[in-house]
Amino acid sequence: MEYWILFGVFTGLMVIGTPIAFCLGIASFATIVYLGRPAIVVFQQLNSGVSAFSLLAIPFFIFAGDLMMRGGIAARIISFAGSLIGHVRGGLGQVNIAASTLFGGISGSAVAEAAAVGGIMIPQMKARGYGADYAVNVTSMAALIALLLPPSHNMIIYSLSGGGNISIADLFTAGIIPGLLLAAALSVTAYIVAVRRGYPTEPFPGFRKAGYFFLVSIPGLMLIVIIFGGVRSGIFTATESSCIAVLYALLVTLLVYRSLGWDEFIHSVLGAVRTTAMVLFIIGAAASFGWIMAYLKVATILTAGMAAISSDPLLVLLMINVVLLLLGTFMDMGPLIIITTPIFLPMVKTFGVDPVHFGVIMILNLGIGLNTPPLGPVQFVAAAVGKITVMEAMKSIWPFYGAGLVVLGLVTYIPALSLWLPALFRG
């Protein structure tokens, strides 16, 4: 009965549109009251769920991403990418993906990336005769690269949801090859579609111009070097690097580019506070929900159920991937990581799957879910920028979904894609 109350109240409130944090909190409260145990634990967990130092990376990376978008760092990176590969067939699609890859190396937010890269690329692409649907789909899928390449606050959420002992540095490193693989798969897909649709090429701007674009984008691109170099050389930790990203973004936009005004700074701060409060309030409520799940041993029961269906790790991973893709259609990434990690991670561990590997699978899988209606925030942003409806975008997104799923399959069944690089760094 208590299981029905926990999941029933949660689902019931969710379908009527109650904010997800309150669905989680109220379902936990109702269950503990039914069990006749002290309900105070729900509010204790609401608080302790947000009391972890690693969570600081979320406000910081969100803040930094917003500063880089408003302060023109993203725009300069796009110009540089354009001068490099614009002359390929369907060149602006390739530019879009290259810019997303570079920006993905300094930002962990796919929504921020879709807004930053899409905001500049989509209007340009439409003006040069590219279909708006093509521009939107390339943007929304390429934005997912940011989730896999470091920094990635979603990987931090995963590490914490998995009990806090999964190395964040390893997770960051593990995402690099899958992220580049996704970029390559999208690049090939975008090229094929561009050729079939007869999209144009861009003239090469010449080495002088390309060199100039490179020079002005260096201060922004340096952030990749600073974050990665700083963490790897022991100046600061992965969590602290998020704070360094904020300081660096401020330094570049205030002193180097001189592109950030006082008003924009305040907007950035308040925007970061709103987003962080929303995300972390869900994380707090999910901690209450997770506590009740642990108390009721939900994960143990589910694992036993899944194991009864199959004990073949390949099949279990396939089942988990399908479940996550389905859940990802109507739920957002952060809450899904928080809710499903405590269930699935112990399960896959018993089948010998490395937690770091599973983290990469989960991030990529749920990332694809950011582009699937009814709830696809990245797709919504891209479609809004491209001034088309989600339905119009859906008509031609299938080849890009295909590319994403192929990469997901490769990442799922070839653990080395995720695990080789971290092992290399560990020496």
């Binding site: 409130l13 969710m14 379908v15 009527i16 549109g17 109650t18 904010p19 997800i20 944090a21 309150f22 909190g25 109220i26 409260f29 309900a39 105070i40 509010f43 608080n47 947000v50 009391s51 972890a52 130092f53 969570l55 600081l56 406000p59 969100i62 917003d66 937010s109 796919a110 929504v111 807004a115 989730l147 979603n154 100046i235 600061f236 602290e240 704070c243 360094i244 904020v246 300081l247 305040i266 907007h267 701060v269 308040l270 925007g271 970061a272 506070v273 709103r274 987003t275 962080t276 409060a277 929303m278 972390l280 309030f281 869900i282 707090g284 109507f330 990434m333 952060g334 009814p374 925030p377």
Partner: protein
């Protein structure tokens, strides 16, 4: 309604306070890195201090979210029900928010009282300080959800306000 204007100002003041929290937190973590790497004398309080500050601005920000309506939800049922059902569903949601917020005040208050005399290690502040934001946030959420319920009942278009575009999750 004048009361609504007061609540709007309150909400804004709380949001700015939370923003100051984020900026100060940036300073604390930067100070931690500086003191450890450059001076080689790590302050012991920075980890606990920044976490404390974060819980404060999260709970304050979450309360603002109730008024600005930026908490994320999924209207699955609205796809199948007629539009006239929307205000009713929203009213139920607001009641739920009010109820949970009331729990935050009540049980958060109990936590504050229970842990008034124990200390947070290294920081030295009463443990109650970590639970205090729940109570304040709960009070604000009660006010803001009640405001929405009353405004809706009075026929104000509280459900049509677009979500703030600066929200960027994922």
């Amino acid at each position: 309604m004048p009361i609504s204007r007061v609540l709007g100002q309150l909400s804004n003041a709380v949001l700015y306070l939370a923003g100051i929290g984020l900026v100060v937190m940036t300073g604390i973590v930067a100070y931690q890195v500086f003191m450890r790497f450059v001076i080689n004398a790590s302050p012991a309080w920075t980890e606990a201090g920044s976490i404390m500050l974060m819980t404060w601005f999260i709970f304050l920000g979450a309360a603002v979210g109730v008024r600005e309506n930026f908490h994320m939800g999924f209207d699955v049922l609205l796809y199948v029900l007629p539009p006239s059902a929307k205000p009713w569903l929203r009213a139920i949601s607001d009641l739920c928010v009010f109820g949970f917020a009331f729990g935050m005040v009540f049980f958060g208050g109990e936590l504050v009282i229970r842990y008034w005399s124990t200390r947070i290690p290294v920081l030295g502040l009463p443990t109650a300080f970590t639970y205090f934001p729940i109570v304040i946030s709960g009070v604000l959420m009660c006010l803001f959800s009640l405001e929405r319920l009353l405004m809706r009942a009075a026929g104000e278009p509280v459900d049509d306000v677009p979500t703030d575009p600066t929200i960027t999750e994922a």
